[in-house]
Every structure is written in C-alpha cells, then in structure tokens.
Subunit: 364 residues, 2 copies
C-alpha cells in the first residue's frame, strides 16, 4: 500500500486532517481510525457512484449507510437538491451524531457540505474528493453552498469538514476535460503564493496532462499546503483568504451568465485568471510579459482564455451581484507579479472595462 | 423617553447588545448608534408589519430598505419561505455588508435569521422581537432555523444577531394568547436557573396577565440575563445550553404531530414543562409537590398542561426524530428541584412511557 501523505488544517478544536494517497477509499482502517460517526449519509452523483461507491461502502464496516445520488453537473448545485438531501436525512431519522460524506467533485462537496451545515444546525461532514479540482481546492476550507439563478454560491455556509480523504487513484478515471479544469486552481495557487509552483507547472505540464501519478501527487500536496495555511490564518475570509478568489469574480460571472451549463467551474476560473492578469496589467501593476506567461500556461493547459458567447455588459452585471461587492464597490484580486496578489476596490474603472471588452463577446 | 435597559451577550468579537425599553422602534438614534449597514432587508409578517413597520422604517433614516412580508404563523416557518427571503435578497442585489432585520415573533426571527446565515455565507442580522416569547427567549442566542414536516427546527444554523432591540411597547397590541405563550419560556427560566423568579411568577401572575408594563419589563430583563449568561458560556450547545430545552422535546413532538397548526410554540412548551416535571417525579427525582407547583403555575398562566388529540405512541415517534437523540438514546432535560435541571439519557424508559400515557391522548 502506498504511504499516506497527511496534512492538517489548524483551526483549534475544529482542526482536521487531509489524507492523500493512492487507493484510500478501499482501506477500511482509514475510516476506522478517523471517522467517529456510526450513521452515515453518502452524497454522490450518477457518474461517480457506480465507480467508487461500492469500494467506499465496503470500507465503512458495520456502520449504517444511507445514500443520495444526484445528477452530475454544476447546474444541479441548487437549493432544491440540497433540500432533497435534507429530506433524505430526515426521512431516515439520522441523528445529530451522524456524518454526511461527499463522494465526488466540487458540486457534490459544496452541496453535501451545505446540507450537513443546515441539518440539525450542523452535523459532521467528510470530504471524499474524486476530481482534481476538489482534491486541490474545493474539498479543503469549509466553504459550502449552492448556486442561485442570480449568482454563484450565493446561498451557503462556512462548515469545516472533520476529515478530507483524497484518493488519487480516482483521478485515473477522470475525463481529460475535468483534469484540465482542476489545473486552473493549481495555477491560481502559483499565482497568489508560490512562483516556484507556477514555474514547475510550466515545466511539467505534459506529465500532468498525461495523468502522471507522481506529478499529480506533487501538485495536490502543494495546493493543499497553501490552502490549509491560508484557511488556518483566515477561516472566514476577513482578509488574506480573499486572495484565493483570484480569477473567480470573472469566472463566476461567466458561470452565472451561462446558467452553469456550458463551462466547468475550473474552465471559467482558467479564463478568469487570464482576465485578472490582464486587468492587473491594465492597472499598471503586472508586467505585460508576466500576464503573457499566465495566458500561455492557461492556454497550454487546454483551458479557455476568453469567452465569446457573453457580452461585456452582461458580464459586468453578473459581477455586481457577486459576493465581492462591499460599500457599492466591486473588489478585485489583482497581481503585482507572479506569486504576489492583493485585494483592492481602488483601481481605475477603465482597467476593468478594457479587460471585459477584450476578453468577452464582440472583441477580436 | 424611557431609559434604555442594556445587556450584553458576551461572545468575544461576536458580542452584541440587547436593548430593552418602551418605544425603541420609534427612536432613530438607537439605529444610528448600533446599526452599521446601509442596505437593509426587513422581514416581517402580515400581522406585525401594519402595526410597526412604518414606525421602524421612519427610524432607519436614509438607508436603503427592502421588505418581505410573510404570512403569520408557525406553519409558515418553512424552507420554502426562507428561500423566498433569499430570492428577494438576490433580486435586489443586497451586498455582503447588508443587514437582515426580523420584525416580529419567533417565527419571523428564526426564519429571517436562517436566511441571513445562508445569504453569501452569512450577513448581519438584527432581531426586533415584538412578542413576549421572542423578547424573553427566541431573539437571543443565535439559534435560527425552519421546520420540516418531519420535525421542528430540523434545518437551521447558529447565527448570532449583531443587535437585539426589544421594544416593550409592542406588547400592548399582543393578543392575550400570545402573552400567555411567552410566559411558558419565563417559567422555564425559573425552573432551570432561578427559583426566586419562579416564586415571583407565582406571586405576580395576575399583573403579568393584565399586561402591567413594569412586571413585563422585569421578566424580560431577568429572562434575557439568564439566557445571555448561558449562551455566553456555551454558544453551540455542547453542554449547559441544552438545559434551555427543558420541556421542548415534549413540546416539539406536540408541534410536529399537529403540523404546527393547532398550538403556539409557547403553548406546546407550557404542556412540555408539565410533562418534564411529571417525568422527573416518575424518575424519583422531583418531589410530587414541586411537580404540582409547576402544573399549577402553567395552568394559572392559561396554558395547556396535556394534549388529547395526539396519542402517546405518535408523540414518542416524533420525539425520536428531535435533535436530542444521540447514540440511539433520547436525552431529556429533567428537574431535581425547581431551579435545578440536568440533561440525561439515563432514565428508566417506563418513566417516559408513563408520562406520555398520562399526558397525551386516551388518558383520563
């Protein structure tokens, strides 16, 4: 068996481990050791459940297990589906000392986590991420929620998991498109905190795209390290944690303007990173050559760098309802250089206008 | 103007004041001093809004104010109505630095607080309780939530208000039935923490039922003191706070078995207190004479002491889905004497069976 790589998110009595290794879902001792609850609800989707639910169930021993299988895709991350999960918890009379397990990608994790946060005012929650995006980003940090027709993740809660189990073997069945989407968040970590990681991605992109296990394990470990440190210092996004939203205000606008149906979240973030870099350059902050490195890496990762089907004015409208508006001003995460980001509402409005005009519909 | 009585719930950076006085809703300086947000959503109901919303709105100055008026009653404390409040927040694009104000009783406060907890993962929340029950109990402490057909408050969040404004003038328009319902929670405070308060209620019940402002101000102040202290020591109900549920496991069973349509919450709690006292006697804990004092005070307050329309087996079924079940055992709050309560799952099952048999349908 491969050795288990273990990290910790330090949040006092709510600290929790992140376990990373090949084949973890099939190892009963992992759950025996780390999972206290005897009654479980597993939330998964129609794509992931047939692949990994039997393996997981076999590892859970004599615990009582109830399942909810949701349709796959961001368009299903709705309050109606969270309500469906709550109905199942209540119909099966799971008690306050139960745990909700999310087996799937970011959609399943965000939605199941929100249901766990609301059920009986909060029950234990376990993240079992099966996509690269979830393993490097969304499964860690306690942001849960659902989308609304009016905007991305507008309904949600901070609810930390008690355990994150990233079984890297699940990436072997991950479609190439999903793998690329996950890389967007890894590029983000390089941009906000680690220029060496960014350079490493530039050098090892081919191995990653080929699904090389060692290369993937490296970026999962490094991404979780960065995210765990940021979340440990600023759980509720009073400050530093907002840096993790680099590219996301643009990305969320793309997702909500397209009704969550066209692009994967990571694809929208990929384009969003290019836009954030372009806006930083337009503000006179990021050298043009560095913005070009961002664009090139996103493009080589097979991710979009612009979107033609949404007009700039529509994008701006969607950005205004994003959670980053405070005191009437839209805050952006901008780059000073690769590896250094900051949050500001104090930028020339035309820098944003120009970025939208050159990266959304109608431009060349 | 009457002097403002001020208490504080001590929760570190999330501490907040409880202001109690006659006419507070009509005093703009109260909101100028204590309310930071410039964009507000007021949630109220069809009974309270016509009486107090114009006064409140006039006190809010130049702030942007949006309103949602819900139907009145516990049967409307649903996820569907919380979703409606969220729709209004999103449709009006209220930003993360907005505040949600609950103007009404416990139903409005619980539901609006839950919407505030979920909107953008948590926005500021202000309690403006207009019923005795809300002023003495539900507006303080941060428990928010909605009911489910399967059980009371099964969906919710801990989300503390930033401010509680108890305008005692609103009690002048409160129906007698609602006033009595509020007294149930005050009796509860006497039973769990303050035998002198219990004795004071026995001596001054007539003044309270007549709506005497000084007597009401006394019990609101004392109830808030007790609740603020308990919540300050145990915000998330890891221990002591569970004592505040005295009578509520029985009461919740009554409410959910009758689909939240027949009894007010305080009426169900009144009967629940009598049942908790009877169960305590059946366990050989509370002297019979003290249980009889409880029953007499609840009865003199004009509250029910038993329920005929629900059968014991049905009540037990509803108790089993209440949030107090852990490790397969239903925990109860029991009394050792008036003024001393404790939580236990270690009681003779027949004590519970006997209590249900003598206080629910089919008994004499």
């Amino acid at each position: 068996m491969s050795p288990v790589d273990s990290l910790k998110v330090e949040l006092g009595i709510r600290s929790y481990p992140i376990l990373i290794a090949d084949g973890l879902l099939g190892r009963p001792e992992i759950f025996e050791q780390h999972l206290r609850a005897r009654e479980l609800l597993i939330v998964s989707n129609t794509t992931v459940a047939p692949l990994y639910l039997p393996t997981l169930a076999a590892s859970l021993g004599k615990r009582r297990v109830v399942e909810v299988i949701l349709p796959d895709g961001e368009a299903h991350k709705t309050l109606a589906n969270a309500s469906r999960v709550l109905d199942v918890l209540i119909a099966n009379r799971l008690a306050r000392d139960c745990a909700v397990l999310a087996l799937g990608g970011g959609v399943v994790g965000d939605l199941a986590g929100f249901a766990a946060a609301c059920y009986q005012r909060g029950v234990d929650f376990v993240q079992l991420p099966t996509t690269l995006l979830a393993q490097v980003d969304s499964a860690v940090g306690g942001k849960t929620g659902v989308n609304h027709a009016g905007g991305k993740n507008l309904i949600g809660a901070f609810h930390q998991p008690v355990l994150v189990v990233a079984d890297t073997a699940t990436l072997a069945t991950l479609p190439a498109r999903e793998l690329r989407a996950g890389l967007a968040e890894v590029i983000k970590y390089g941009l906000i905190a680690d220029p060496a990681l960014f350079a490493w991605l530039e050098d090892h992109l081919a191995e990653l795209l080929a699904g090389d296990p060692a290369a993937l394990a490296h970026i999962i470990r490094r991404s979780c390290e960065i995210k765990a440190a940021v979340v440990g210092r600023d759980e509720r996004e009073q400050g530093e944690r907002a840096l993790l939203n680099l590219g996301h205000t643009f990305g969320h606008a793309i997702e909500s303007a397209t009704a969550y149906r066209d692009w994967l979240h990571g694809e929208a973030v990929g384009a969003g990173l290019v836009m954030a870099a372009a806006a930083s350059t337009a503000c006179g902050l990021l050298p043009q050559a560095e913005a070009e490195r961002v664009r090139q890496l996103v493009k080589r990762a097979g991710l979009p760098t612009r979107i033609d089907s949404v007009m700039p004015a529509v994008a701006l409208e969607h950005m205004r309802i994003d959670k980053k508006v405070q005191g009437g001003r839209l805050r952006l995460v901008l780059l000073r250089r690769i590896g250094e980001a900051f949050v500001t509402a104090d930028y020339p409005p035309e820098a944003l206008t120009r970025t939208l005009a050159t990266h959304f519909g109608g431009a060349g």
